[in-house]
Symmetry: C3
Subunit: 468 residues, 3 copies
């Protein structure tokens, strides 16, 4: 089942080694410990600012960082293991491109955030931001899951991280937008970028791999591990880089309630849209998370508990409707083959999150925020922007994000078409055996006499067979 | 395999939507950010109390909250996936009723804890308490696992959360009892409530579903994920709402040692009670956790490390004996069909925990607690109660809990018998295909020529079959 | 498949009960709460040192402790579930010996760290150290995985914990070495001890069990859960007992970058060393972690971000080469049957970590560390040792560790040969059915017509068969 095109024996090692060595060189030249991690600088800081070791930012950010980290590696990694024969690729390519992207993002974001004495300072906050950027790449991975080689994924990450950093800089530093949980910078960006890559890499004969583009019982169970970690830790994700104190606390809580309401509306819609009322695991695994995405921008604002719930409630409904009705249309009419349905979990809820953020920002006032206004809306607090202008800037930011994501996705999609990348052919997609030594060979045979409620998805867990 | 009764297409969406909309309305009218999460209030608090952002309660409770959250969604969710054909129902119904219960509990507990200016204040502490209440509902779910519809579960949660909040109020606010880890309020309550519901919903022909009421190799592996998360994070659970400082620290450590000793006695008893000395995964998955339950009440007290170990050691022995000998008796003589054996993990160890708490409380003194007495036993410290009266109050609390749980379980059990709830018939229990679109159909055939050590449990992982 | 030798019905309960009762007695006599956990002592401490409850060490160590705890129970436990028929033994024997080892380690380490008024003081720091010691035992378990009885494992833990504590004392208290992440005390020690035990317990006819000494698709997926938790939480592991403030922060970050670089070089080497370029899950599961091991000693030093990356990059290369070429040689030439390949993940990378630590220590200076020198190298800061002497002490420590580990492993290996231990015969290794009630019986039949890329590993997931 391997042919020269997909033989990674030189392509993958070369790509990994070259990328890692470039990173090492750049880190050697450009990167240093910040004042919270450098032994000498921290002790000077303690003296000059009269701080104790207990005030090191580690204690106030690291627990949230660890939750974000788990979302990146376990959450995204296992959510994508629903594919019955792509478990290795899902979780381990997720692992590979994340390990690369967080390093490259440290450089790209560090560069754009501004050098200190010609150096990039790193600490737990840059680690969180690098994981955020990586999340965006993994969202795009979800759109093309099962249809790329690991070399294509590394190239995609290389360019996407750079574009992410540029977009993030424009939004947060130029437009003064707020987007703590990344409804725009992470979810909208990652989704539409990935969808464009998928469009450019459109596979006209993908139905030849149809029988593997589905789940089986235990792969759905593995995927639920991913779902639940994303759901449980999203409060930490959205609050990870908000200001200390009430901001982190409120953001976590807003997200928690958004997700709870989203779960209820997801189950409701999943049953309602099925002719026999049966729940669809795809909805539970994905749409139940939409509340976290939609609370990304406004989560740190005074969205109110009920506001958070309404946002999540709507996000779940939109997401299930997307999975049910929109994804097939995107595939048939627009030729966008979105493996994981990222448009329904990250795309539309991301846009919803941006809109909610714009509206909530435009309502900001000192009466509501008190002295907390400085933390959430520094530009409004300083009198540089009115609340409605801030809201307008938020809306513009959505447009900028969509522009860079769509355009960037198209360009990068064409780069990934280069033959050197070693993409699989249409007939061998969603198959681990291409890139992995797998002990269990599964043939693409129809299971004898089996009804197949998934329609085209063939049940093929025959345990012994000849390799195809 | 679906009939009109179990068709959820209107029942489930209606139930979810109505419940969620009621919650949203009540949150809109009644719920507000507390002074740790509200931007304006926190900044006023900082000024008036001379606090820094680093003293926001978020930093001292959120890490424990996250561990509790993981126990609720992953711990309970996956522990119940041992059932070979109910993995979706176990983990995803756990997900659904938890998302509902934590919202409803916020309201019920908030109402009973006392309104501030007619509002319920929420923050990380109310989030922890809501998750605690949810835990109790999941314990009851364990008793009826595989035998209910999701609508029944939502109704059960609705009433159980309310009764939990009432019982918790009586114990903690009226009787001045201490129960930080919920041996009484969570475990005893949840177990006996659930057992009564199971009794009322007794199924005379449940043996028709017997072949699915068991595990297979990989479902036992999934369940171990649940077990280990519960075991590892129980120290956080028991300490989550104890007083800052030594209380949280001591409670976590007492629980940790209780569980370690419990694990040793569990393995010992599991092997000892098997005629061939072979270990039983059911014991390892469940009984090894009993130490956490039994250390719930006394965990924050000066139980001493050795005291914690003795408690855990005994809890493991009691629990395994329960699984081995008592559960069959409960089923045959008392008609209580306890799917997960919650009586052995939460019931009896919960009662043990209450007794240990009562005894330990009656021995409290300023010689032992020093100025820490105020934190653990404020009423003794203020001179309102003697230590022996406190111990007596603890014992009364156990009685009250049992009373409300047993009575409440019977009443709610009858409510759940309403036909509108859509319960499955005796022959189609423990089967995901009733409520879920499953790609893999399993027929209830005996595996050809297979010995079946579990006796009645048929091995039936045939991968292709016609739907029954 | 059970014979008198492997019948655990008296051996295991007796061993567990005796060990636990001894521990309980010793805890009763020797162990007390430290000043952070004792109610009276903490409140006295608050007064005398003018501390607030927020300064209790719980808040600055417990989050890291929880991450370490997850690595011990989930990380190690599930990493070893790659064996297709030893999932129960892997995760649940890991559970058992860890629960025992952490208690025994509390005593051994407490005794060697020094008694206070004839008592061992315990708190979160001793809990972390006990988990560290347990990690070493689990590494050794990895070498003999599938080939021992649970009684042998408990005996091994009993002696290994004691030797670990002695070695740790010599290194940290006598030689004044630094080894925060345990490259020497945990990884090197555990690996070489385990390899010697494996050597003494050499099984000449192990090929009779060859068909089970391999993974299947979903067992590799379970193992990835273990891998990812170890990878994600290793920063917490290496930083868990470093000094408050910049030390914990820097150590976590150094480890994070070491692991990221290691992942890239692991994927590269895995593909490069395969004739068809296909990735090998064994490498991804294990070698990708080598960076965490190799950053153990130097992680708290001013290793620099690029230094951390170079260390991880090299560790990944060495580890994959070990899996590919060295493990078969160790087996054929030296008769060391290393089930998990611990030499490649913990042995060689541990030695690399020790060397890196020695070199980095020898370069320590006040110019680099400023006033942070006191935290990382107190003896250099006090002028008792020069940096090069410190480096030399580090190197000596590696030698001492290897000596105690190798010698100790040989002696303990012979103890484990005692017939009372109930070891399985060569033909029934890697089989859960010996010690566990398993519902699914698998016969050692070749799968009909199946190619087997693993060579000797037979695919045998036949779902129904007669018990062997």
């Amino acid at each position: 089942m391997t042919d020269t095109a997909t033989n990674m024996r030189l392509k993958l090692p070369l790509t990994c080694f070259i990328l890692e060595i470039i990173i090492i060189i750049l880190f050697g030249v450009l990167v240093q410990y910040d004042k919270e991690t450098d032994a000498k600088k921290w002790h000077l800081e303690k003296k000059s600012e009269n701080k104790s070791d207990y005030e090191n930012d580690f204690y106030y950010r690291y627990p949230s960082f660890q939750d974000v980290h788990v979302m990146i590696f376990i959450g995204f990694g296992f959510l994508m293991t629903f594919l019955q024969r792509y478990g290795f690729g899902s979780v381990a390519f997720n692992f590979l491109i994340s390990a690369f992207a967080l390093q490259w993002a440290t450089l790209m974001q560090g560069f754009l955030h501004g050098l200190h004495d010609g150096k990039i300072d790193i600490g737990v906050e840059s680690m969180i931001n690098a994981d955020f950027c990586t999340g965006s790449v993994l969202i795009s991975f979800g759109a093309v899951l099962g249809k790329t080689s690991p070399v294509q994924l590394l190239f995609m990450a290389l360019f996407e991280v750079t574009l992410f950093a540029v977009n993030e800089f424009i939004l947060l530093s130029v437009l003064d937008a707020k987007d703590a949980g990344g409804s725009m910078t992470i979810h909208t960006f990652g989704a539409y970028f990935g969808l464009m890559v998928a469009r450019v890499l459109y596979r006209p004969n993908l139905d030849k791999s149809k029988q593997r583009n589905c789940s089986v019982y235990h792969s759905d169970m593995f995927a639920m591990i991913g779902t639940l970690y994303l759901w449980m830790f999203w409060p930490s994700f959205n609050s990870a880089i908000t200001a200390h104190g009430d901001d982190q606390h409120r953001t976590a809580m807003n997200t928690y309630y958004s997700l709870a309401a989203c779960t209820l509306s997801t189950f409701a819609m999943s049953s309602l849209t099925a002719h026999d009322g049966k729940l669809d695991m795809v909805h539970i695994q994905n749409a139940a998370l939409a509340g976290g995405v939609a609370a990304g921008t406004a989560g740190e604002m005074m969205l109110t508990p009920v506001g958070s719930m309404i946002v999540g409630f709507l996000a779940g409904i939109i997401s299930v409707l997307g999975f049910k009705y929109l994804t097939p249309i995107l595939e048939e009419k627009l030729k966008i083959q979105d493996t994981c349905g990222v448009h329904n979990l990250h795309g539309m809820p991301g846009v919803l999150g941006a809109i909610v953020g714009a509206v909530t920002a435009s309502l900001a006032s000192r009466e509501v925020y008190g002295d907390g206004l400085e933390d959430v809306f520094p530009e409004i607090a300083k009198g540089h922007l009115s609340a409605s202008t801030q809201g307008f800037r938020q809306a513009i930011s959505l447009g900028v994000t969509l522009g860079i994501a769509l355009l960037g996705g198209i360009v990068v999609g064409f780069i990934l078409k280069l033959p050197v990348c070693g993409a699989p052919s249409d007939a061998i997609c969603f198959e681990d055996n291409i890139y992995w030594e797998v002990s269990l060979i599964i043939a693409a045979q129809p299971a004898g006499g089996a009804e197949s409620p998934g329609g085209d998805c063939m049940i093929n867990q025959v345990d012994h067979s000849t390799p195809g």
